[in-house]
């Protein structure tokens, strides 16, 4: 009985040992391996399909290097570039002159009569404004990226204001002539413009180059006098007699100044200001240096494809012997 038990135990141990050897050491059967290979193929195809759907991966047979830039990244980088590279654009205007003259008529007891003639001249000594770019909007299309760039213009200025009044008739007798000057401080209130243009893309050797194309943009820079100017006008009128005040009131000095300055100074924002080629910061190296040797890297552009979601470009890279460094 005891011997039988020993034999059974030995048989069980050998069975377990044989099983473990075959299962864990001997290796899987060809069928099991084939199942695993099928699973890997299936997962690989599934991954490729997911990548083509989501990342819109594409392939260029001849291109050793493909670069894909999603429109979301391009949008973000363009916003950063507009903010970082065009944050300090100044507009400086000097020595601009505006003039407005007219006769002022009023209904008097004896009918409508000319009560005076005024000449309002403004000498803008200096206007300084800054252009503040907003967030650009990009749209990928064919070989270009359409760009809409909102720009705000805001600043300040100094001007010399002269008001000449030549009183006529009764007003002339009461008011006499006036010739007053005033140094005025002004602001350039924020006004926004939309610049429309495009980035023309081309692969230049090892790099992708975007050349902005923008038309000249006509701007109008309005000037808004400070409160001190309006106090000056009020005091100018308030210090006169009633008849004179009535005559000057008819001249509507304040409104005339406002109208003259609020039309704005016409300025052209030249497109060439923005039209400077931007080389995208990713490029193929021209040479490789290894211990004791230098290699020339030849880069041939292969593909440039823009879809609404992504920009792809491909470069065929080949390596050739360069000059050996001394």
């Amino acid at each position: 009985m005891r011997r039988l038990k020993r034999t059974a135990l030995l048989a069980a141990l050998l069975f377990a040992g044989g099983f473990a050897y075959a299962r864990f050491w001997w290796g899987p059967s060809p069928e099991a391996l084939e199942r695993q290979r099928r699973e890997v193929r299936f997962l690989s195809e599934r991954l490729e399909a997911r990548l083509r759907e989501r990342a819109l991966l594409r392939d260029g047979v001849d291109a050793s290097v493909l670069v894909g830039v999603p429109s979301q990244v391009a949008d973000r980088l363009a916003a950063d570039a507009a903010k970082g590279l065009f944050a300090d654009v100044k507009l400086a205007l000097h020595d601009l002159r505006f003039r407005k003259e007219d006769e002022v008529q009023a209904r008097l007891l004896v009918g409508k009569r000319t009560v005076g003639r005024f000449v309002l001249s403004v000498h803008v000594r200096e206007v300084t404004a800054r252009l503040r770019p907003g967030r650009p909007r990009l749209r990928f299309a064919a070989d270009r990226v359409d760009v809409t760039l909102p720009v705000g213009v805001e600043g300040e200025g100094r001007a010399f204001l002269r008001f000449k009044w030549d009183g006529r008739g009764i007003a002339g007798a009461v008011c006499g002539d006036l010739d007053v000057t005033h140094e005025l401080q002004a602001s350039v209130p924020l006004r926004s413009y939309g610049l429309e243009g495009a980035l023309r893309l081309r692969v230049d050797g090892p790099a992708l180059v975007a050349t902005p194309e923008f038309e000249d943009v006509p701007l109008s820079v309005p000037i808004e006098p400070s409160a001190a100017t309006w106090r000056f006008v009020e005091e100018l009128i308030a210090g006169r007699g009633a008849l004179c005040r009535a005559a000057l009131g008819k001249a509507e000095v304040e409104e005339k100044i406002k109208a003259l300055l609020s039309r704005g100074i016409p300025v052209t924002l030249p497109g060439r200001l923005l039209e400077r080629p931007l080389r995208l910061p990713l490029a193929v190296e021209r040479s490789l240096t290894l211990p004791g040797r230098s290699l020339h890297v030849e880069a041939q552009p292969r593909d440039l494809i823009l879809t609404p979601a992504r920009l792809w470009y491909g470069v065929a890279v080949s390596l050739g012997e360069g000059e050996t460094p001394l």
Partner: protein, 254 residues
């Protein structure tokens, strides 16, 4: 009688699993396939949850033939393995498939004392330690070697002995010594760290010189369909004048 019974039970154990199992080579392949399946499942999960290959990243697709050419430039590499073996690896193959980068180096191992006695050697490994270099902005990777196979030995009467010696003595230290001789594989692509714009005056307008500092970080690397797909997170920030001056100095020194 008892012994016969026990042996029969052992054989039964073998038969119960299947007689056509494939030995160490099949076991190694099964382990590799398990790893690949696991990697692929992780990648599918990452893509489906937008953690990889999202619209937030710039994608580089680097062909395996370019990486092979770059790796080939680092060859041949040689190592002496005590006491009498000399290893020289001369050719490289690179494959990017199923989420794995595979590097195969081929060459020969010889007896230093008898150069006519040699065995063809295949060393396998992969790329690892991917990085975007500072300050050059190049994508780099290192080669790791993890196993070797002896294909064929040439030396009458010594064949079996040489193969056994090679397998026994060329261990991990030799593989590490060979791998350290391969410099980092640098993809010849440069990510400029700054984007600069010269100052310009046009009419009443004047643009001041400005520059942007670009930050590039490696997000994911996926070897697939013959390419190494490298995902980069790129961001930009205006550069201070001090940083601009330092960048100009660096540019000038290049």
């Amino acid at each position: 009688m008892a012994l016969a019974l026990a042996v029969a039970a052992g054989l039964l154990g073998l038969v119960s699993v299947g007689c056509d199992t494939g030995g160490p080579r099949a076991r190694a392949e099964a382990a590799a396939l398990r790893r690949q399946a696991e990697t692929l499942r992780d990648l599918i999960d990452a893509v489906e949850t937008d953690h990889a290959f999202s619209a937030r990243h710039v994608t580089l697709g680097i062909g395996q033939s370019l990486v092979r050419d770059l790796l080939q430039l680092a060859l041949p590499i040689e190592a002496e393995s005590a006491p009498d073996l000399h290893v020289r690896l001369e050719t490289a193959e690179v494959a990017f498939e199923n989420g794995e980068s595979r590097v195969t180096l081929r060459g020969r191992v010889r007896r230093a004392s008898a150069p006519g006695t040699f065995a063809d050697l295949t060393v396998r490994g992969g790329l690892h330690r991917f990085a975007v270099g500072e300050p050059a902005g190049q994508v780099t990777a290192r080669v790791a070697l993890d196993r070797l196979e002896v294909r064929q030995a040439e030396a009458e009467g010594l064949r079996r002995e040489l193969v056994e010696t090679v397998i026994e003595r060329l261990g991990q230290p030799t593989l590490e010594s060979l791998a350290t001789q391969i410099p980092p594989i640098a993809i010849p692509l440069r990510f400029e760290r700054t984007l600069a714009l010269e100052g310009l005056r046009a009419g009443a307008f004047e643009i001041a010189p400005a520059s942007l500092r670009l930050r590039v970080a490696l997000a994911h690397v996926v070897p697939l369909a013959g390419r190494l797909w490298v995902q980069l997170a790129v961001s930009a920030a205006p550069e201070s004048s001090a940083e601009r001056a330092a960048a100009s100095r660096l540019q000038a020194s290049r």
